[in-house]
C-alpha cells in the first residue's frame, strides 16, 4: 500500500488538485456545466497529444523540441489535403498524416543515433526544418477539415445504461483522447519495448549491458512521439477546421505538463496519466482566469508565468534529487 502511494502519490495529489480546481470553477461560475466541460475537453485535446509526445521521449531520457513544429506540419498537411476533397478522402488523409508523424519522428531518432549529436540540438534543427516545411505546405492559415472529422469531437457519446444527465458529461473529445492514448500506451507499457524505453531513460549504460537494443529503442520512442504529435496536429485541424503553419505554444506547455505530471526530466520515471491530468489542470486554470473576466492577454502572461514556474520547480527537484556536487 505504501509503495502504491509512493508511486502514485504524485498523480493522486494532482488529481485532487484537478477536483479542487473544478470546485473553484463551479464557485466562480455556478452555471459551469456539461457543455463547458465539453469545450474544455476539446481545448485540451491538442495539448494532451503534445504532452503525450513529449512524455514518451522524456521517459526515454531525451527531449523533443520539435513537438510543436511537428504538430504544425501535420496540421497543415491534413488541412490542405482535405481542402476541397470529398468526405471519404479524409479516410485516407488520417492514416497518411499519422504515418508521416511516425516517419518524421523516427527520423529524429535516427539522426540522434547516427550523428551522435545530442537530442536537444537535433530536435532544435528539426524544429527549424519542420517549421519551414509547414510554411511550404501552407503559407498562411487555411485549408479545411472533413465534416465527419469535425463532428467527431463535438457533442457527447451516448453510453448505454447511463442517464442523460450523466451522458452529457462524456464529451466525444475526451473519449477520443482516452481511446487514442490507451490504444498506443497500454500495450506499450506492458510490452518488452515499453520496459526498454524506461530502461534507457533510467540508465543507458546499464540498459545496454543488460542487452537492451538502445539505438532501436530510442528511434522507436521518437517515432511514437512523432505519432502522438501527428495526432495532436490532426486534432488541431479538426477542432479549428483549418491548418496554421505557425506552431502554437505547445512546446513549452508540453514540457511544463510533463514536469507537473511527475515525469522526471532526467528520464526513466513517471507515466502518461500524470502529464495528462496536468494538462487538464493547466487548461482549467486558464478557464478560471477567463471566467474571472481577466484580459485574455493578461491570461497568457499568467499562464506563461505558471508554466515557467513549474519548469523551474521541476528543475529544482531534479537538482536536489541528484547526489551533491554532481553536474546535472
Amino acid at each position: 500500500m505504501s509503495r502504491f502511494l509512493r508511486n502514485q502519490g504524485w498523480v493522486a495529489g494532482l488529481f485532487a488538485l484537478l477536483i479542487f480546481l473544478f470546485v473553484v470553477t463551479k464557485l466562480i461560475q455556478p452555471g459551469y456545466g456539461s457543455g463547458d466541460f465539453g469545450s474544455l475537453a476539446r481545448a485540451v485535446l491538442p495539448y494532451a497529444f503534445a504532452v503525450a509526445a513529449q512524455t514518451v521521449v522524456v521517459i526515454a531520457g531525451g527531449i523533443d523540441l520539435s513537438v510543436a513544429a511537428m504538430m504544425a506540419l501535420t496540421s497543415v498537411t491534413a488541412a490542405s489535403m482535405m481542402n476541397g476533397a470529398s468526405e471519404e478522402y479524409a479516410l485516407f488523409v488520417v492514416p497518411f498524416v499519422l504515418a508521416m508523424g511516425l516517419v518524421l519522428g523516427a527520423l529524429n531518432g535516427v539522426l540522434i543515433v547516427v550523428t551522435r549529436v545530442p537530442d536537444i540540438v537535433v530536435t532544435l534543427a528539426m524544429l527549424f526544418v519542420l517549421q519551414g516545411a509547414a510554411l511550404l505546405v501552407l503559407g498562411a492559415p487555411g485549408g479545411a477539415a472533413a465534416e465527419w472529422l469535425k463532428a467527431s469531437v463535438i457533442g457527447t457519446v451516448p453510453v448505454p445504461g447511463l442517464p442523460d444527465w450523466a451522458d452529457a458529461w462524456v464529451p466525444k473529445a475526451l473519449v477520443l483522447l482516452v481511446v487514442c492514448l490507451c490504444i498506443v500506451w497500454i500495450p506499450l507499457r506492458r510490452s518488452r519495448l515499453g520496459l526498454s524505453i524506461y530502461a534507457i531513460g533510467s540508465n543507458e549504460l546499464a540498459a545496454f549491458r543488460s542487452g537492451v537494443p538502445v539505438a532501436r529503442t530510442r528511434i522507436i520512442a521518437y517515432a511514437l512521439s512523432g505519432l502522438f504529435a501527428a495526432l495532436g496536429g490532426l486534432s488541431l485541424t479538426i477542432s479549428t477546421g483549418i491548418g496554421a503553419p505557425i506552431p502554437g505554444p505547445y512546446l513549452l506547455a508540453s514540457v511544463a505538463a510533463v514536469v507537473l505530471g511527475g515525469v522526471a526530466l532526467g528520464g526513466g520515471k513517471g507515466g502518461l496519466l500524470g502529464p495528462i491530468i496536468a494538462v487538464f489542470v493547466l487548461r482549467l486554470v486558464r478557464t478560471d482566469l477567463t471566467l474571472l473576466a481577466i484580459d485574455p492577454n493578461v491570461t497568457a502572461i499568467i499562464e506563461g508565468l505558471i508554466m515557467v514556474a513549474v519548469v523551474m520547480f521541476g528543475a529544482f527537484i531534479t537538482m536536489r534529487s541528484r547526489p551533491a556536487g554532481a553536474t546535472p
Partner: protein
C-alpha cells in the same frame, strides 16, 4: 602496440584537412563567404558593388549582434531564444514612448524589459538549473504577452521612429553604413571580453567543464546571471538599431532573426555544447547567412525553404564539428 605507433603512417588528405579546419576555422569560413559572393556575382552580374556591400553590412549587423548573444550563451553550453522578443520589446517601447517622453527616458524604459528578462533568464538557468532553451523560450512567451497588453495602452498615442535611430539604422556615410559606429565598438568589446578578461575566461571555463569550474571556486549562478543580463541588453540595443533599419514597429519585428542568429553562431564555429568558439567566427557566420539569404531571394526560394536550409546547416555543422573534436 609500440610498433604500430612508430610506423610511419601517411596522413591522409582528408585527415589533414580536418585538422586544418579544427585549428583555423576562420579560413574555410572566409573562403565559403567568398565563394557565395562569387556565385552571386555570376547569377546577377554587376550586383556586387559599393551599394550592395553597404546594404549587406546593414542587414548583417543586427544579425551579428544577436548572434553575439548566442555565441556568449553557447560558450557556457546555453542558448538564448528570448533575444527576438527582447529586441522587439525594446524597439516597440522606444518607438511608442518617444512620442511623449524625453529620448533618454524612452531609452531607459526600452531597456527595462531587456534587463528584467535577462535577470529572470539568468536566475532560472543559474540558480534553478532549468535548461536554457526552455527557460528563454518561456520568458519570450511571457514577454510577448506583456507586449500585447502594452500595445493596447499606447494605441492612441501612435508610434514614430526617432531620427537618430533612423540615421543609425539606414544612414550611409562615405560608403560606410552608420550602423558600424555601433557595431565596431560592440564587436571589439565582445572579442576583448571573451579573450582578455576574467569574465570571458569564466564563460569558457563554465562551458568546458562546469564541475571543474565550480570546484575551482567559480560562482556559477553569478556568472550565468551576468551573462544572460548582458545578452538581453545587447538584444535590446539590437532592437533599437533594427527598428531604425526596418522602420515599421510591429509585435514580431525581430522574431525572424532568432533562428538565423543561432545558425550564424553555429556556422562561426561556436560549439553548442559550450567551451569552444569565438565571436570573430560568428561575425563571418552572420555575413555568410546574409549573403546566403540574398542568394536564396534571387533564386526565389520561399521562406519555408530557407528555414529548412538553416535547420540542415545547424545539424550538419554541429555533427561535423563533433567528428573533428572526436578525431583529435
Amino acid at each position: 602496440m609500440t610498433d604500430i605507433a612508430t610506423m610511419p603512417r601517411p596522413v591522409s588528405f582528408a585527415r589533414r584537412l580536418k585538422r586544418f579546419m579544427a585549428d583555423r576555422p576562420l579560413i574555410p569560413l572566409i573562403i565559403l563567404l567568398f565563394i557565395l559572393v562569387v556565385i552571386l556575382q555570376i547569377l546577377r552580374p554587376g550586383i556586387v558593388n559599393e551599394r550592395w556591400l553597404a546594404n549587406t553590412a546593414k542587414f548583417a549587423i543586427p544579425l551579428a549582434i544577436l548572434a553575439g548573444c548566442q555565441t556568449m550563451t553557447m560558450l557556457t553550453g546555453g542558448i538564448d531564444l528570448s533575444v527576438g522578443t527582447v529586441a522587439t520589446m525594446s524597439a516597440f517601447i522606444m518607438a511608442t514612448q518617444i512620442v511623449n517622453q524625453d529620448p533618454a527616458v524612452a531609452f531607459l524604459l526600452a531597456m527595462l524589459p531587456a534587463v528584467l528578462i535577462g535577470l529572470v533568464n539568468g536566475i532560472g538557468v543559474g540558480v534553478f538549473r532549468v535548461h536554457p532553451l526552455i527557460m528563454t523560450l518561456g520568458t519570450s512567451l511571457i514577454g510577448t504577452g506583456f507586449l500585447q497588453v502594452y500595445q493596447r495602452t499606447v494605441i492612441a498615442s501612435g508610434a514614430k521612429i526617432p531620427d537618430f535611430l533612423n540615421w543609425l539604422g539606414t544612414g550611409v556615410t562615405y560608403g560606410f553604413p552608420n550602423a558600424l559606429l555601433l557595431f565596431v565598438p560592440v564587436a571589439v568589446l565582445i572579442v576583448f571580453m571573451l579573450n582578455r578578461t576574467g569574465f570571458g575566461r569564466l564563460l569558457y571555463a563554465v562551458g568546458d567543464n562546469e564541475r571543474a569550474a565550480r570546484l575551482s571556486g567559480v560562482r556559477y549562478w553569478q556568472v550565468i546571471t551576468a551573462l544572460y543580463i548582458l545578452s538581453s541588453l545587447l538584444a535590446g540595443i539590437t532592437g533599437l538599431l533594427y527598428i531604425g533599419l526596418i522602420k515599421a514597429p510591429s509585435l514580431s519585428l525581430a522574431e525572424p532573426l532568432v533562428l538565423p542568429s543561432v545558425a550564424a553562431a553555429v556556422i562561426g564555429g561556436t560549439s553548442i555544447f559550450g567551451g569552444r568558439g569565438g565571436y570573430t567566427g560568428t561575425i563571418i557566420g552572420a555575413l555568410i547567412l546574409t549573403v546566403l539569404t540574398t542568394l536564396l531571394t534571387i533564386l526565389q526560394m520561399p521562406e519555408g525553404g530557407r528555414r529548412i536550409l538553416f535547420g540542415c546547416i545547424v545539424l550538419f555543422v554541429t555533427a561535423a564539428y563533433l567528428r573533428i573534436v572526436e578525431d583529435r
